[in-house]
């Protein structure tokens, strides 16, 4: 294998790791996938150090050429579809289905894979809010109010929070928003159990992926990345609570405090 081919393999492995990390994979999965790709194509000296926001990778042992790259990765919006697709690709590489060039093309396709359409996400949030409101003690009517709140919440998340706001401010704003919407709906006579309505509507904001990945990273003894992800999840939980608090105080002031 000449240096040029070797570099292509390492490049492929690193790109695969990049897509995985960016879209919410655990650290060990990223490391394992990169190693699997390198080993299959015959690069033996690959060494990678993966953190929650960066990949450090080197190769070279005298017989194989030297390669080193550091890549910073901004943690993006979770998209498990891409994680699944890269996982599938690495399996198929290990089964010997593709050469390096073909694999690279498939990876490019995965990177360009379209997001779910906005309206689908908005409806997902709306239905999720409604369902969790019913689950946590709400009636069908409360569920309807939560459905509305979840609907408006994700329009805000997709149009305002994701493009313009930081995660902290975006989350505080979102949970304050749903609290106020639920309060207003309740005031207008839609829904009776305000608490269940609000609890249901904050569910789309819950950081499920950082939370579970953080736990798994720590369990795998990737303490550094695990604690960063846990911190991220905990911070978001706190932000939700702060937002709800803001919303309740605001409602209290507007309605004279006898609302709740």
């Amino acid at each position: 294998m000449n240096d040029h081919q070797e570099e292509a393999v390492l490049e492929l492995a690193q790109q695969a790791g990049h897509v995985l990390l960016e879209n919410g994979a655990e650290i060990f999965r990223v490391e394992e996938t990169m190693e699997r790709i390198c080993r299959y194509y015959g690069v033996k000296s690959e060494n990678a150090f993966v953190l929650s926001n960066g990949i450090f990778m080197t190769a070279g042992d005298g017989r194989e050429g030297t390669f080193a790259r550091v890549q910073q990765i901004l943690v993006g919006r979770t998209n498990l579809a891409k994680v699944t697709a890269v996982n599938q690709l690495s399996r198929e590489i290990a089964e010997g289905r593709y050469d390096v060039e073909e694999a690279r093309k498939i990876l490019e396709e995965i990177k360009r894979m379209p997001e779910k359409r906005k309206i689908v996400k908005i409806l997902g949030s709306a239905v999720g809010s409604g369902a969790f409101c019913c689950l946590l003690g709400g009636t069908l009517e409360d569920g309807l109010a939560a459905f509305l709140a979840g609907f408006i919440l994700y329009i805000y998340v997709l149009q305002v929070a994701n493009p313009y706001l930081s995660r902290i401010v975006g989350t505080i704003g979102g949970s304050a928003l749903v609290t106020v919407i639920c309060g207003l709906a309740h005031q207008c006579g839609l829904g009776t159990r305000l608490n269940s309505m609000i609890i249901g509507s904050i569910m789309p904001l819950i950081p499920g992926v950082p939370f579970t990945n953080g736990i798994r990273d720590v369990a795998n003894e990737d303490y550094l990345s695990g604690s960063v992800r846990m911190l991220d999840a905990t911070l978001i939980f706190f932000c939700i609570a702060i937002g709800v608090g803001f919303g309740i105080s605001l409602l209290g002031t507007v309605t004279g405090g006898d609302l709740l």
């Binding site: 969790f132 798994r216 609570a241 105080s249």
Partner: protein
């Protein structure tokens, strides 16, 4: 009871959409979320106490199922795990803690905050315990199933 499990299934599927779960796996995610919630409700004692233990048992069930389906469908376990955990996350605890803090009832706020932390800890332990089981155990059982 049936209504509540049904809402857990629907809610789980709806929130899986938000984290980008591929649509072929929606039904598995929903089923895992529903079963997890069912276990939670059965494990709660009649007075509605013992959320910690109930959450631990439910999380462990969700984890076992997720690992089976992940190996069976050859797909990252995160897909099912995240979805199945959603109904168990202490959303209510977060809400009540914020509520009592704003209402200046600090004693109750501390109490509900502690409850929420306890539930989160139960989820953490449930996940860690089941991931200790080696992959080969799941493979063996799956092989038996497929004959």
């Amino acid at each position: 009871m049936i209504m509540s499990v049904l809402s857990a299934v629907i809610g789980t599927i709806a929130l899986s959409v938000l984290v980008g779960v591929p649509s072929v796996y929606y039904l598995y995610c929903g089923a895992i979320g529903g079963v997890g919630w069912l276990v939670y409700m059965i494990a709660l004692n009649p007075a509605g106490q013992g959320e910690g233990v109930a959450t631990l048992l439910a999380t462990m069930t969700v984890l076992l199922l997720s690992r089976f389906v992940a190996i069976w469908k050859r797909c990252p376990v995160t897909v099912f795990l995240v979805a199945g955990i959603f109904p168990l996350v202490p959303g209510a605890g977060i809400y009540w803690t914020a509520y009592y803090i704003v209402m200046n009832q600090l004693q109750l706020a501390a109490q509900t905050g502690y409850e929420a932390a306890k539930i989160a800890a139960a989820i953490v332990l449930g996940i860690i315990f089941i991931f200790e089981i080696p992959q080969s155990f799941f493979l063996k059982i799956l092989r038996k199933f497929s004959g």
